[in-house]
Amino acid sequence: MSVNDLLAPAYEYFFNWDNYETLLSCAYDNNDYGKFGWLLLLTPMLLLILFYKVWEPMRRQRLMWLIILIIISIIGYAATTGILYNNECILDELGSYTGNQVNPEYFIFQMSMITVLYSFIMSIIYTLIIKRFSKHNSHNPF
């Protein structure tokens, strides 16, 4: 099973299939869920390793951790938007959008927000693991 197959249901769960079938198929056919998967896997891991093992802030540690999570979310949001705007199928849908069907731009926004949600969840999971290897933030945020 590919990452694309694995992650597709996690995104599609939030949409009404009947209305979003075309756009969701565009994302699936272009292997975009696979890209989202690697994005969700690598971005929080990389940034949290940098946070807990390299930066190791000493002041306002919880706030700094929260800022890192916001950065991870912004990266997730921007990357998802970028990936979907580079999907030719979705671009075609955007070009042919008349106002009577689902708005592809709103779809891209929704997909990006779902990535933000999963980025946040992944960050929490990574935090629980990586903070154990930290010396100065081993109890950050809890």
């Binding site: 190791e56 002041r59 540690q61 010396k135 100065h136 933030n137 081993s138 950050n140």
Partner: protein, 484 residues
Amino acid sequence: MANKKLYIFGIGGTGSRVIKALTMLLASGVKLSNGFDTVVPIIIDPDIANGDLNKTGDILIKYQNIFNEVGTDNKLFGTKISTLRQLTDGNVSNLSNNFKFSVDGSGQKFGESIDYNGLDAENKALIDLLFSAENIEADMTVGFKGNPNIGSIVLNKIVDSTEYKEFTNSFNQGDAIFIISSIFGGTGASGFPLLLKNLRKEDSKVTNSNIISKSVIGAITYLPYFKISPPDEGEKVIDSSTFFSKAKAALSYYQHAIFDNKTLDAFYHLGDHSNNNMTHAPGEEQQKNDAHFLEMAGALAVVDFVDSINNLNHTIKEFGIEEEGKKLVFENLGATTKNKLSLPLSKLSLLQRFLENSMSYLLNSAGDFNNEAIKKDFYSSDFYKANFSKFLDYFNEWLNEMGNNDVSFDPFYDDSQDHDKIMEYIKGNPPKKSLFKNNAKGDIIIRELDNIANKGTYRFEKDPSKFLKIFDDVLENQVNNLLK
């Protein structure tokens, strides 16, 4: 040979203050060498309410409480301080457990203590020849107020006290004795030669007298190093203008009674010609003289005595500094003194500053030290609140008093620097800074605390011991970096 004891007799107010200084040095990590691992301070002062004596007693008790919790293998608080009662395991019930030596008759008028009114006419006449009417009426509750002729009579009785007997009982082969006194006052000037005479006397009725009389004995005597301001009204009870004449007379006596007879293995004398005025206080709780650099130099004499104990030959030593000045810092001291003092004093001072100014940063830290090694409730424990923190307050007060005195020893900047500049505290030794790293910040200490806590080196120690050992490692490293 290990496990040797050093008995330190501190006579009078000066004796108390030098013992206080020695306690501060031992707390900061100065160690005695040649197998001496226990210090037994014995304070002889008839003025039992003397402010200096009581403060020193409190400091010693706090030191003991800390030592008992943290154990022996530490640099900070690493030397055992014991009372005579503790040496006897509490077997002698009427023995005080507070380092103070009871002086029989000290709460009376001098005349009462010698039963002046009960003497026959011939003896009365003899006493009248030796003592003035003022002497006979003198209230000894506050000591001998600069009258060694009174003190020599009263202090001659100390050999009959329970404390003295217990001292002789606990004395072992290899133990040594050091006596601290001032030559220009009353208690110290009279007490020192008497004590030495009794220690050197071989008496079959006194336990271990044969060992004690042949033991290594060192002494420090203070020449005048402060003056006393006259009291606001009435007659002067202690007249500092007589200090030098008293000192000369006493030295002359010491020459033939002590030096010519070679009864001392090492003699240190210290003095200063600074215009250092102490407020007039004849005794009791009013007598709280500010700590003075010379008292710390006296404490160093104790350390030097032990260091050179195998090479003493009736040695007489003076203390000197490299550069004379009114405000001394580490750089002004001689190389040996500087090496002895700079690291330990800087470590304990940094610890005091850190715990005072950076505690909130430490308690908010999400690191291993604050969350794994030493939990927050440690700071509300008796060990920390009642003993450790209070001792550090005394240490800070002691440093500040030395800084404000004349001559001033003030090697550190004001202790109010905030967390971000906490490492900028040793005069003449600023921390190295670079574009990307600010070594002045207290964060550097928290980082190191976390590093050691993370390694788990002291994880099996009790909290007080773990706390002290981790801090000790960090402070040693940081201060060495500063002093490079």
